[in-house]
Structure formats: C-alpha cells, structure tokens
C-alpha cells in the first residue's frame, strides 16, 4: 500500500481502474435523485464524483465531515465484517488504518487496490483480487467503526466514549458468540453485491496479521431507506419498514439524533455516530402460516399499503392508540418513547437453510445514533419485553461500535482523531 500522505489517486492511477474500463456509467444522470441524497451532497466537497451519490452506478464521495454510508441514500447490498485486532503494536495498527483508508478511497472511486489486479510481476500475487474489474463504482461506501475491545488496547482505555456501552442482555436474546462483538467493523454498502464483497475481501487481505475477521454478514435487500420520497422497502416479513426513518436530507434530525456533537463529551467523536448491529433471525415458516389479520396486528400497519392502523396512506401520521398495545410500530414509535429516534439502515439476509429445512433468514439490523444509552438500549428494553413480533423473531448476533467522523481529505485517515499522537 502506498502512504496516503504522499500519493494522490491521480498519481497511483497507472493501473487500469474499473471506471476507466467502463466509462462514466451515467454519473450525470442523477439530477432527479439529487434531492434524495442531498445531505451527502452538502457534506462532500472537492471531488469529481457524482455528488448526490444516488445513481446506482456512480461513486459516492469518500471524503467529508461524516463518514459516507450513514446518511447516504441506502444502497441495495451489504457486506458487513467485524474484526478482532491481533497486533499489540500501536504503530502497526495506525499504519493499517492509513493503508485501509487509501484502499477505501480508491475502491469507493471505482479504482483497484494498490498496483491493480493484473500486469504486475508474474511471481507475485496481484494487489487487487480483480473481481470488481469492469464494474461501476456502484455507490460503494465503506464505513469503519471501533468496538469496545479496541479501547482495551494501545493505551486507549481513557478514550473510550461513555456512550459506547456494552449492550445489556435483553429478554429473548440468544446470541451466538461467533456472530457477536468485534474490535472493529467495516460496513460495505453498494448497489452491486460483488463490489461490496470485493471491498471487504481486499480490506481483510490487507489486514492479515494485524486484524482477523471475526464474523461477517451479507445483506441483500435494504429494509430501510434514507430517501423518503422513494418507495419504502419491505422486510422479509413482507411489511414496509422504516417509513418514518430519518432522511438523508433532514439535517436537523441528523444533527439531533445521529451525529455526535460538541458537548457530548468525546471530542474525537465529533461528527461521528454510534452503530448497533443485530442479527435478527425470523421464524419465517411460522410467520408465513400466520393469518393476515394477526400479521397486520403484530406490525400495526396494513400489509399492502403500509398505512398505519385506521389510516389510508403509508405516510399518514399513525394513531398509535388504534393499534394493539403490543404492536411493533406502536411500541417503537418515537411518540411512545419520549421522542427517541434512531437512523435505521438494515438489510435482509438469507444464509441458506438451517439443516432442518428452514430458511436461515431475517433482518440484519443496523442503526446509527448519537448515544446508544439514549437510543437503542431503551428502545430494545421495551421491545424485547413487549413486542408481539418477538414470537416470530430471535436476536442471535449483536455488536456495538463507535463510528468516528469522516475522512476530511487526501491527507486524513480513518481513526486519526482517536489515534494520532497530536489528537
């Protein structure tokens, strides 16, 4: 890997880039979608990519005050990986962050890693694994998070944010250790699954010896959107999900509920956020045998239109008291929770079958928030105790991460505000 300090993408672009192979892929076609990705456009400067980041083939700007992949218009596909840190050498870890940043900068722009996937020394394995050659940037975003375990290392104990708490055991949790926790995470989202997998694979490869993948999860259908004007996606239970999610354009709500700010007590996290990941297995077969009435009662929405109980349209303001007391929407709604709001960014998953002829499928829940103690924890306490949906779901994996602020420019790197000596 090249040092980020001394290398510009232009200087390292000698190797063929994915973009140069396929041309611009209609990056200029995004006008209609520009409003949807507006927050992204505002946050990014000085790059030659489609600022809206809402066209499926385009590149989303990597640099900005916040990391891309949070308020960014939700892409269609996910590869999420949690890592354990293996090295005890702080300098080596810092170098990895720099190397990863450079690789992420290149891949999100549709370029190959290092010296590319071919054309190098015949005796050496190529730097880039090659499967994304010829594919568009596909709005790839790469978002890094730091888990609680990282702060037990490298003398970072005193820098662990108070808001990064270990999640308590919730009622009904049946967590699989091999799908839980992690010192680091990378969320790769893209409209092409191969682009997302390529990104995780190449970062993992760069990380060997310093970090090791603990678990990873593929997701295939977005279950929430940050673009409310677009059609709300459905989860695997067939219901529209995330109707009232925070939109990428809602600067005020993002500031209030998602971005860590001045006065939150952890300066290095300013502009960052906290991420909760939960692998929620659905009891698909039982759900499918459940009557329509029961299904709609469980959610508190009409299955067809997504309209709240007693209302005509999806985006009508829900009348919560019309719903059953244990209906999912009623329990989770901000109005039932003193306004608690989180930004959901989850994906459906199906990891084949479970050996008993049942789909191993469900929701890989991802939510960003300003403070885990004021976001996910109180919400999930309530849901885990009361939600009618619990009869059909089980939380089987869990992790929490502090997501640092964005990489500002060419000289910046992931985690600098936490790890650099002058920080």
């Amino acid at each position: 890997m090249t040092d980020t300090q001394s290398t510009t993408p232009e200087a390292t672009a000698a190797a063929p880039t994915r973009r140069s192979l396929i041309g611009w892929g209609g990056a200029g076609l995004a006008l209609g979608a520009a409003a949807a990705g507006g927050a992204v456009a505002m946050a990014r400067t000085g790059n030659d990519v489609d600022p809206a980041g809402a066209d499926t083939g385009a590149a989303v700007a990597f640099h900005g005050a916040h990391q891309a992949g949070i308020a960014t218009a939700v892409q269609d596909r996910l590869h999420f990986a949690a890592f354990d840190v293996k090295t005890d050498d702080r300098a080596e870890f810092v170098q990895l962050m720099k190397d990863w940043t450079e690789a992420a900068r290149r891949m999100t722009a549709g370029r190959t890693v290092g010296d590319g996937a071919y054309g190098g020394l015949a005796e050496a394995p190529p730097d880039d694994t090659g499967e994304a050659l010829g594919l568009k940037p596909s709005r790839l975003t790469l978002t890094i998070g730091f888990g609680p375990g990282l702060f037990d290392r490298f003398g970072l104990t005193g820098r662990r944010p108070e808001a990064l708490v270990d999640l308590p055991q919730f009622a009904g949790d049946n967590l699989d250790k091999s799908r839980t926790g992690g010192d680091l995470c990378i969320q790769a989202c893209a409209d092409d699954p191969q682009v997302a997998v390529h990104a995780i694979r190449n970062l993992a490869r760069i990380g060997f010896g310093k970090v090791a993948i603990r678990w990873s999860q593929l997701g295939f259908g977005k279950t929430s959107s940050t673009t409310p004007d677009a059609q709300t996606p459905r989860n695997l239970m067939g219901f529209k999900d995330g109707t009232r999610n925070i939109a990428g354009t809602e600067t005020d709500r993002l500031k209030k509920y998602v971005w860590v700010g001045e006065g939150d007590g952890t300066a290095w996290m300013n502009g960052g956020s906290y991420l909760v990941a939960r692998r929620i297995r659905m009891d698909i077969e039982s759900w499918d045998r459940t009557s329509l009435q029961e299904q709609e009662d469980v959610f508190g929405r009409d299955k067809g239109t997504g309209a709240p109980v007693g209302k005509a349209k999806e985006h009508d303001k829900p009348f919560l008291k019309a719903m059953k007391p244990d209906a999912h929407v009623r329990l989770a709604h901000p109005d039932s929770n003193d306004g608690i709001t989180i930004l959901r960014r989850g994906y459906s998953f199906t990891d084949g079958t479970d050996g008993l002829g049942r789909l191993d499928a469900g929701l890989f829940f991802l939510a960003y928030m300003r403070d885990v103690r004021k976001g996910f924890i109180p919400l999930q306490r309530k849901l885990s105790a009361q939600d009618a949906l619990n009869e059909y779901i089980q939380h089987v994996g869990s992790a929490v991460f502090a997501v640092p602020p964005g990489v500002r420019d060419q000289d910046d790197w992931w985690g600098r505000t936490l790890l650099s000596e002058e920080a």
Binding site: E123, S178, F208
Partner: protein, 378 residues
C-alpha cells in the same frame, strides 16, 4: 495430500532426456576427443579437463577405488544433469549428457553416500542466464534438506511398517505420525513427482474412480477406525515403504528453483490452512498438529535459505515473516504434549475457538509469505 495445483515444482526426469539437457546413460564406448576421463578413487576424483564446449559431453569413468561409486554431473544448485549409480570397484562406465553453457560440477560419491568429491566443469559457448550465486547456494542447501528429510523418513516408515506387519496395533499407531514428518516438511518436492503422492498420501475422498486406496491414510483408517490389521494392511505397509524409497531416490532430480522454493513454502501454508486447520488430513488419528508443525518447519527452512537475498530486496517483508513465523511457532508450542506419540495434543481436543486462532495465525503468515517469490526474483 496433494495440492490441487501442481505447477511450481515439476519433475525433471523425463524432461531431462528430451529437451535442453539430456542426461541419458549409454553403454556405447566413446573414447573421442570430447570425452572427459573421470578417475574415481576412494578419496579422490580427478577429471582430465575442466572446460568443454556446449553440446554432448561424454564421461569415461573408471572406479579405481575399493567401494562402489556414483558419478554425477550437477547444475550449480546441485540438481542432477546426469548420473550413474553403482559403478563397482575396478569397472569402467561411459556416461553422456547434453549440456548448455554454464557452470557445472562433476561429483564422485564413493560408497554412494554424502556430497561426494567435486570437480568444476565449465561449459562454454551459447548464452546462459546468470543467477545470483547466493540463490544457487540456497537451492543447493534446500535440495540437501529435502534429501535429508527423505533419508530420515525411511527408517521411521520402516518402523511403522514393521509394527503393522507384526500386527501390533498400538506400536503402529505410535509410529504413524513420526513417519510422516519428513514427507510433510518437503511436500511440494514430493508432490512434484506426480506418481508418488497419489500412492502414499491420498485420503479416502481424494480417490479417483477405480483407484485403489493405498498409503498412510488407508492404514490410518485401519488402525484408528477399524482397529484391526489384516493381510491387506501388511501389504499396504510394504508398498508404502517401497513408494517412499522411490521418493528418496528421486529427490535429487526434482527441479528446484528459488521461485519454486518460495512458492513451495507458500503452498505448505496453503496445505495447513486447507487440510490441517480443518482436521481433514488425519481425520482418524487426529495427529494433524504434527503434520501442521512439519509443514511450517519446511516452509520456514525454505524461507530461511532465501532470506539473505529477500531481505536485501524487501526488508519489511522479511521482518514481517520473521515475526509471523515466530508467532505461529509460539502458538503451536502451546499444543505440545509429551504424553502423545507425536508430541502434540490430539486435534479432536482442539476447540473451535482454538482452531480459529490457529487459522488466524496461518493467514497472518501465509499472506506475507505469498510475496516471498517476488522479493527473491525482482
């Protein structure tokens, strides 16, 4: 178990007779001007000329000593161009070979043991690619290592076979893993002879249709799973010894290059990752960690020999490799168990979390090791 790709080290036996370098012994007398007179005594080896033109060379050999001898023409890396074994005291032999320009050695090995007494031979004319002499040294030392491993394996496999033939189940089990160590250390070389590995180291799932299951793992299943030794197993034991003696004889003819050494080291780690970490290799005996250690030892040997060159070209890489070899060896050492025949904890006692840790350590080493070949040649 054979690696899926067998590209790097290829057997040179047939190639030697057909292509650039021909090394086929002939009985015909050839007492012409181009012939080199080789006088092989018990402690001396004299040659009538030190320089010849490229093309066909003829050695007129006479054994003036008291022991049977062997005469070889060797490449700088100790690979054999041509050889004649078992030339009795007082007898003569003519050996011919086709040689390109370059530096060679003629070796007389009285008693057919050891490195022999050497004389330089320069072949002139044509052009020849120069290689870093340190790399020739590395290749020669690795060839010697491979030969040592094969030589040391024979008595160990004989002990294993003897126990099988005596019907002594426990003694056979105890001798199983140790008999594999030399093979596992140099597996890429062994596998370069495409015909030996399928006979000695195939697992049940690796059999081709109609192929008879022979070798270590067929015996492993009999000893650990079926828990009985019959006439078939005794035959298999004899065959295993014979096949491995064949390997021992042919190690000297394997084509070994600096690149193939480096890639062979990487392939040994691939072996570990694919077959040992998963517990697939020794699924009945669970002696996988013994094979694991042997694979790592062999990779480390190749690396150490190439290191003097590699570190002048990529110091960061050799620093990382030193660190990761040490880390993996240290981790493996925590699985030592003096009470078992192979010195390691039985792999069925190694937990899922421990296997993950071993796998991480293998990845941490294999990734930089994949860059060694480039560091050696660039």
């Amino acid at each position: 178990m054979r690696a899926a790709r067998r590209t790097v080290v290829s057997a040179v036996v047939s190639a030697a007779c057909l292509t650039a370098v021909t090394g086929c012994t002939q009985k015909s007398a050839a007492d012409d001007d181009a012939a080199i007179k080789v006088t092989a005594a018990d402690a001396k080896c004299t040659t009538s000329t030190k320089s010849i033109p490229a093309g066909q060379v003829t050695l007129n050999i006479e054994n003036t000593g008291s022991k049977a001898t062997e005469v070889e023409i060797l490449f700088p890396d100790d690979r054999i161009v041509s050889e004649k074994e078992n030339i009795g005291p007082g007898t003569k032999y003519t050996l011919t070979a086709e040689v390109k320009a370059g530096s060679y050695e003629i070796a007389c090995r009285p008693g057919m043991k050891g490195l022999g007494v050497r004389q330089k031979l320069t072949v002139t004319g044509g052009s020849v690619a120069k290689r870093d002499p340190r790399l020739d040294k590395a290749v020669a030392a690795y060839r010697e290592y491979a030969q040592e491993q094969a030589d040391a394996t024979i008595p160990l496999v004989q002990k294993f076979a003897d126990a099988v033939k005596a019907g002594d189940l426990e003694a056979a089990k105890a001798a199983f893993a140790p008999s594999r160590v030399g093979w596992e250390r140099t597996e890429p070389v062994a596998e370069s002879f495409g015909d030996i590995d399928p006979k000695t180291d195939t697992r049940a799932d690796g059999l081709e249709k109609g192929q008879k299951w022979t070798g270590w793992h067929a015996l492993e299943k009999a000893l650990w799973q079926d828990k009985k030794i019959g006439a078939d197993q005794k035959t298999l034991a004899d065959e295993l010894v014979n096949d491995l003696k064949d390997w021992q004889k042919r190690v000297g003819k394997a084509e070994i290059t600096p690149t193939s050494m480096a890639n062979g080291a990487k392939e040994l780690l691939d072996e570990v990752g694919k077959n040992k970490v998963t517990g697939e290799e020794d699924r009945y005996s669970h002696t996988d960690l013994s094979d694991f250690q042997a694979n790592v030892d062999g990779a480390q040997k190749a690396y150490e020999l190439l290191k003097p060159v590699a570190q002048t070209k990529d110091k960061a890489l050799t620093t990382e490799l030193d660190k990761q070899f040490t880390a993996l060896d240290t981790l493996l050492a925590t699985y030592h168990d003096a009470k078992t025949s192979d010195g390691f904890v039985s792999y069925d006692k190694v937990t899922k979390d421990q296997r993950k840790e071993l796998s991480d350590a293998v990845n941490a080493l294999a990734e930089p090791l994949s860059k060694l070949a480039a560091a050696v040649v660039k």
